[in-house]
Symmetry: C2
Subunit: 191 residues, 2 copies
């Protein structure tokens, strides 16, 4: 997605080690027009997989998942990282190491919103180690629903997240921008 690649190049801040700060448009301040385009790009790519629900994890997965849901006319479910007091007793549960905050985070989804006949499109902001996606895929497995696709806004190709996901899911994995890390610690951003 060329607009996203250009935004990463113009507004992202590279801090070394393959880490690009994108909080000016993706995960702290949100560029709402760009996020609409991200939703359109996922909706177009995954249309043929015929999902019935978009699944993501709070918090930074919510904007791209919601825009994809808006563009496809589908409900969006986000895994909670703490169980609200009002949630029903039985839940689907997995844990994933936090990408940017340290420690493990729980991922909790109510069975009410992941019925066994659902066709699930998993959307997240970053694909790096892939461990959050693998945990979310485990939640889908617990529900008995069918995972039909995995979409990530930004993929770090120098981590093995895509391989981790491919070990548990043989369908389409699609990212809208890819960050490559070179031996001299420079990066390249491509669509």
């Amino acid at each position: 997605m060329e607009a996203l690649v250009q935004k990463i190049k113009s507004a992202g801040t590279y801090v070394g080690g393959g880490i690009v700060k994108v909080d000016s448009f993706l995960n702290h301040q949100i560029d709402s027009e760009l996020m609409l385009g991200i939703g359109s790009a996922f909706a177009e790519f995954f249309a043929a997989t015929e999902p019935t629900v978009i699944l993501t994890a709070e918090s930074s997965g919510i904007p791209p998942a919601l825009m994809t849901g808006v563009k496809m006319g589908l409900p969006v479910v986000y895994a909670r990282k703490k169980e609200p007091l009002t949630m029903s007793k039985k839940v689907y549960y997995a844990e994933a190491p936090s990408r940017t905050k340290g420690g493990n985070v729980p991922l909790i989804v109510s069975p009410d919103y992941l019925p066994s006949d659902a066709r699930v499109l998993l959307i997240d902001d970053f694909l790096a180690t892939g461990l959050t996606a693998v945990a979310m895929i485990d939640i889908v497995r617990q529900s008995g629903a069918k995972l039909v696709g995995v979409g990530c806004v930004v993929e770090k190709t120098f981590e093995d997240g895509r391989d981790q996901i491919a070990q548990v899911f043989d369908g389409p994995i699609h990212s809208l921008a890819k960050i490559s890390l070179h031996e001299d610690d420079s990066i390249t951003v491509t669509s």
Copy 2:
């Protein structure tokens, strides 16, 4: 907003004590079409206040804030509850008691996205005690920016949140659905 009132009546679950579970359409599973309508309603009501940025707190504030940002063509900033490792060193900071999870939660905003000349429209999903909104208003005060409005999707009129906000903000406070609690523990939902 009549569509929201009808949705609360048809899909909300009243558990007593004025607590209505809305996680089937508002804060766990999101009805994307309803959320678009919520964004349109806020955009229309607050158009005259001429905001330049929408501010909210993660996670459940993000969907209504993002849809309002999309409808108004404005960036959306959400306060983080944990400081990401990639955030800049100086931050605006406040704390609010958690509505549904127990304990206090920190609210953190990077000064980069709340410049002193901003006109801030604060959007959140629930207005109950008002303490989250008051904490967010304190963050706006720290930034030197101007708060122009406060919009909440659902207001519990039997808690004193509106009064709490009115003590620190003399502009428009608007909710799209109001839940009243009666002496016999029954509720009424109105727009």
